[in-house]
Symmetry: C2
Subunit: 219 residues, 2 copies
């Protein structure tokens, strides 16, 4: 007599962060179907039988935003009883980061309304998605300190002030300009492009990442 294991619905949920309007924002979908109809929720969906977990997360994100090839890392797996009112669902949550400019979500998609929302305050959220976003924020804040994750918020070319803005926004406190620039250049992950961004002030050197897709642990 062979043991037949229970089989459980598995989903991914993606916490896609960006920096917009000077604050941290997260991508949410207004649900078009029950449960939690018309309530904001994280993008994601059921994992197919022949689909790897991360592939599912990337696919769902692509379907709902058009985004491709962005930074994505597994966050945590949420499997509490009752987190979905329909049936037992285990959800593998991911954190994703993108520069704001890369995405102007169309107002309407198949899944409903897609929009950026400030993380403070968040609207009412479906399922345990508020908890998932809270954990994702913690991870983001922690990784800022010991990795080069922050650059994933930036377009291919950026100024040192752009970088400092990311850190100040996420950490919620100003940093010393000279110390910051010394520190960020000492990482040795940046190189000058030779181009400048002009404005009605002194032009700023544009930098790029030496390895654009590499997120490195710095300590």
């Amino acid at each position: 007599m062979a043991y037949e294991p229970p089989r459980i619905a598995v989903t991914t949920d993606i916490v896609l962060f960006t920096i917009r309007e000077g604050v941290l924002q997260v991508l949410l979908l207004r649900r078009a179907i029950p449960p939690f109809i018309n309530v904001w929720a994280l993008p994601g969906g059921f994992v197919e039988l022949h689909e790897a977990l991360e592939d599912n997360a990337r696919r769902k994100l692509h379907e709902e935003t058009g985004l491709d090839n962005i930074y994505l890392e597994q966050l945590y797996t949420f499997g509490a009883l009752g987190r979905d009112p329909r049936e037992r669902v285990v959800s593998v949550a991911y954190v994703a980061l993108t520069p704001a400019d890369d995405l102007h979500p169309e107002a309407e998609t198949r899944a409903g309304t897609v929009a950026w929302h400030r993380v403070d305050p968040l609207p009412a959220l479906a399922f345990d998605h508020a908890e998932i976003i809270a954990m994702a924020r913690q991870r983001l804040v922690a990784k800022l300190d010991y990795s080069t994750i922050a650059f994933q918020f930036l377009p291919p070319q950026f100024t040192l002030s752009d970088v400092q803005d990311i850190y100040e926004i996420i950490q919620g406190q100003p940093m010393d300009k000279r110390n910051f620039r010394k520190w960020v250049l000492a990482l040795d992950d940046l190189e000058e492009t030779g181009d400048y961004r002009t404005g009605h002030h002194r032009p700023a050197m544009l930098y790029r990442l030496k390895n654009p897709d590499l997120v490195r642990i710095t300590k």
Copy 2:
């Protein structure tokens, strides 16, 4: 027409570490049934429909070792296609820590032979369990540096040298005794018991944790 999500077998795998014989060891079971019959594997098993993920991990660990109330944290979720030859299986991996003395696995249990194994070198392992153990080791080494996780390897009373031994074994390098003691006492997580451990040398003060079950982030 309602969408019917695919349903997938979900397991936990537990990487239970201890320090024994002066090295890091991991608890393995020799599988008594296919697939991978007679091959060493991590403890764990299928998640029941009405069982929380962590509850399943604790239950399996208890069934296979008798251990209760030990330190356990979620590590990562492994969901690659083909990682189980029978069918699609998503596995939520946990890291657990215990003092060596707390467990003398009986040679035979229902699930097969249970034994401690050195992590260097590991025997051949079933499924992707070598990969899981590798990630668990990385997590352990990293957390040693920014949390009080190391104390979970120690019995209720221990000397400062016992603590230093844990760090030296896991990090694989000696540390300065005076600096280490200053640092560990500065954590302010320890208190003297007033008792001493004697040997054929000067007696050593026994310490205890102020909060035995608390693993704290230290930076």
